[in-house]
Each structure stands twice: as C-alpha cells, then as structure tokens.
C-alpha cells in the first residue's frame, strides 16, 4: 500500500507496518542492485581475472 492509496491513513499503524515493509524491501533491493552493478562493472569494464574460489 502506498501513501497515495485511498485507504492510506497517516497514523502510527500504517507508518510502522508499511514503513517496515518498504525498509526491508529497500535493503534487499539496494543490496541486489549493488551486486548486479558491481558484477557487470567487474565483468565488462575491468580487467577481471576472476576471484578464485575463496568465497
């Protein structure tokens, strides 16, 4: 639910619940975006020789 939805009310319940959801999704989205951008950069724009198997 977004703040522009007709059901939205600016109360603590909505802010905590939906804020928590978007916060968690934000961390996952930013984390995965970082991984993909970094990987594309390393693969196509840097002279990468691989990372070995030390994960």
């Amino acid at each position: 639910m977004f703040w522009f939805s007709f059901e939205w009310v600016w109360d603590m319940g909505h802010i905590v619940f939906m804020g928590g959801l978007w916060y968690a999704l934000g961390i996952l989205g930013i984390g995965m975006s970082y991984v993909i951008i970094k990987s594309v950069k390393e693969t196509f724009y840097e002279d990468s020789t691989g990372h070995g198997d030390n994960h």
Partner: protein
C-alpha cells in the same frame, strides 16, 4: 550423461539410478499437486474445515515448517553476526532447508486462503492492527532473503560458474551476505514471534492466552526462542539423514557438535522459560479467567486421547528437557545415537508445541454449552500437507547432486583412483 554438471571431486550415482530413486517421491508429489488443484478448482469444500477449524490441518503444518526452518536464520545469525565461522560448512544446507520450509509454508498458505489470486490483498489492503499482517510481510520478505541466499549456491554450479558474469555475481553476493543474513534474522525474529503472538492475544481462548509486555504476549518471545532452539535440530537431523542415504560423511563432527551445543543451550533455557510460563498460566492466568488448568486436559475418552496430559508431558519433558540435557553435555552429544535421538525429539517437540498452540485451543470447549471439537482432515488436506515433504526431498536431491552444498565433502570423501 550429466557428469559435466556434477561438482568437481565428488562422486554421484548414475542419472538412471538417480531418476529411479526419485520416481516414488515424484508420484507422491503428483498426488499432492492433484489434491492442491482440487482445492483451487473446486474450492475449500474439499477440506473438512468447519466453524471451529477455520484454517484446517494446514495451519499446524504452516507453523511447524516455519519453526523447523528457523535453523536457517539462526545459523546465519551465528555465522555472519556472531562470527561462528565453523558453521560455514553447514550454512549452505541450513539455507536450502530454510528455503524449502518457507516456500512450503507459502505454498500451504496459498492453498489455505482459498483464493490465491487475491494473496496480494494483504499487502495492498493491509490491516495494520493484525499480527497476521506482520507475519505475511515478514514471511514474504524473509522468503526473498532465503532466495537471495540460495541463488549463489545455484550459481556455483560447475557449468554456470564458468561464465564470468555469473561467477562475479555469485562472488559479490557472498561479499554482502552478512547484510542479507542480518535482515533475515530481524525479519525472522518478528514473524516467528508474531505467530506466537497471534495465539497469545486470543483472550477468548484461555488455553493459549498469555500475559503481555506492552503489546507482546509471552508466546511472542517463546515462539522466536523455540524456533532458534529447535531449528538447528532439524538442520542436524536432515544432515544426518542425508549422510545415511548417501553413505558419506558430509560435515565434520566439530561443526555438528558446535551447532548441537548452541541448540542444546537454547533448548535448555527455552524449556525453563516454557515451564515458568506454563506454571504461571496454570496458577494465575487460567484461574483469573475462571478455569482450572485440569479442564484443558480432561474430557471424554476421545478428547483425552488427542488432547490429554500426555501431550503436555511429551512437549515439555520428553521432547524438551531430554533433548536439551543430551545436547548440552559434550559426552552425550558426541554419542551418535544420543545425538540423533536428541535432534529427532527436538524436532518433534517444536512441532508438538505448534500443534498445542493452534489445534488444541480450537478443540477445547470455552462456553459451558460447548463440547470438545475433534477434527479429522480430509485426504486432500493430508495430501497437500505431504506435498511439501516430497517437494523438499526432490529439491534436496537435485541440489545435492548438482551444487556444492557441503564444502567439506571432497576432503571427507576422497575419490580413490
């Protein structure tokens, strides 16, 4: 035939043997899928749900798989946040088991809601006064975390890993896995707790109603605690079963012993808290609501068979105190038979706990004119509850065959030329 896909340095059975071994499990899976389609196409009249049991057998299966899947978040927390680095040798398997458990929980929910196409309603038309909304949010987000944790394992497949971009994605995902693991632990604590909280706030169900700290009843904390305590038991149990089926040692004893020790202390402390909670409920909470605690365990012959004192004894003593005592003792947890006994009892214990918290309260009479409600699930419910087990076996088999799940396997099982 598929040898190019099998990880280097390990030995697997031939593809025909693998397929033949999986065939009976696939048949069970198809039986479950058939029952699932019946529920979706014909509706929930395929179940034995009634006014007393509005969530059917599935609600117990849901809570049980979420509890035993707790090994994933707790192992991740121990490895990435508390620095227990030895657990890197079992974390992949814990993640896989967690992924299976949580995807199963979501599948069961998709059947239970009856209208899976409207599942998004809970996000768009969220009831922000419901603990179940929090559960739905955290469960979905945590499943996303588990998927993110499982993806690098898939990408490490021998053939996929040869592609530079995929190799880099896998490597970089490992690099920030601590962030995902911390997010997962946070989400898990809340949804495990809220599943307990849902029961604890039911003042109309005095068997599960509990006192509160702010808005959280004791059951909130007990559920999170028990998932962290018993989840690793299930991880160890499945690891031992896998070792038995494959005839290989896959994880070194010191890793299992460490996880078992931590699990043992968590169980031991949890069971003390559970006993205090039960004692307070029996002597204060229930009497204040007008009940004597024996009311909850006595009734006619059939109700005692399903909901008698034996259940309390089995949950707290047999499947709580005993596995806790075994696992905290170094001598006992290093004895293979006792270890296996303890983790099996622990797994049964947490499933029993979820049973008593969601099924037992619905069976008990609350009003003077009520009688005990007993519930027999339909075959469709049974089939769809067994479905995740078959799905889990298949996913474990495929992952074990093609992915480097156990980092110590090569060292522990050198191939003789």
């Amino acid at each position: 035939m598929d040898s190019a896909l099998i990880p280097k340095g390990v030995k697997r059975c031939s593809l025909p043997v693998f397929i033949a071994g999986l065939t009976p499990v696939v048949l069970v899976l198809l039986w479950g899928v058939y029952a699932m389609l019946l529920c979706w196409l014909k509706g929930l009249n395929q179940t034995n749900m009634n006014d007393s049991y509005g969530f059917a057998l599935w609600i117990w299966a849901d809570l049980a798989v979420i509890a035993i899947g707790g090994g994933a978040f707790f192992s991740g927390l121990l490895k990435y946040i508390f620095g227990k680095d030895e657990l890197k040798n079992i974390i992949n398997y814990a993640v896989l088991i967690g992924f299976i458990c949580y995807s199963s929980a979501l599948l069961i929910l998709a059947i239970d809601v009856g209208q899976p196409l409207r599942s998004w309603f809970i996000f768009w038309h969220a009831n922000v006064h419901s603990m179940l909304t929090e559960v739905a949010f955290c469960l979905s987000c945590y499943f996303a975390v588990l998927t993110i944790e499982y993806i690098p394992l898939i990408l490490e497949n021998r053939k996929l890993d040869e592609i530079p971009l995929i190799h880099n994605i896998s490597h970089n995902m490992h690099g920030i896995m601590a962030v995902f693991a911390a997010t997962g632990a946070f989400l898990s604590c809340f949804h495990q707790g809220s599943l307990g909280g849902v029961a604890g706030v039911l003042y109309g169900r005095p068997y599960v109603f509990r006192e509160h700290i702010l808005v959280w009843p004791w059951t909130f904390f007990l559920f999170t605690w028990s998932a962290a305590a018993f989840g690793p038991c299930f991880t160890i149990l499945i690891t031992k079963i896998t070792e038995g089926i494959t005839g290989k040692k896959l994880v070194k004893d010191n890793v299992i012993s460490l996880l078992a020790k931590i699990s043992g202390w968590m169980i031991f402390t949890y069971i003390i808290a559970k006993i205090i909670d039960t004692f307070y409920w029996a002597t204060v909470t229930a009497p204040e609501l007008g009940f004597v605690w024996s009311d909850f365990f006595t009734g006619d012959r059939s109700s005692v068979l399903f909901h008698g004192y034996w259940l309390l004894f089995a949950e707290i003593v047999l499947c709580g105190i005993i596995p806790g005592l075994i696992l905290i003792s170094k001598k006992h947890r290093e004895n293979k038979t006792l270890l296996l006994t303890a983790v099996t009892l622990g797994t049964i214990g947490v499933c029993l706990n979820r049973w008593t918290m969601v099924m037992q309260p619905m069976a008990m009479p609350v009003m003077t004119f009520d009688s005990w409600n007993l519930y027999i699930p339909s075959w469709q419910e049974v089939a769809t509850t067994i479905l995740p087990v078959a799905y889990g076996i298949i996913l474990i088999a495929i992952s074990f065959r093609y992915l480097p799940i156990f980092p110590q396997e090569v060292e522990l099982n050198p191939i003789k030329e």
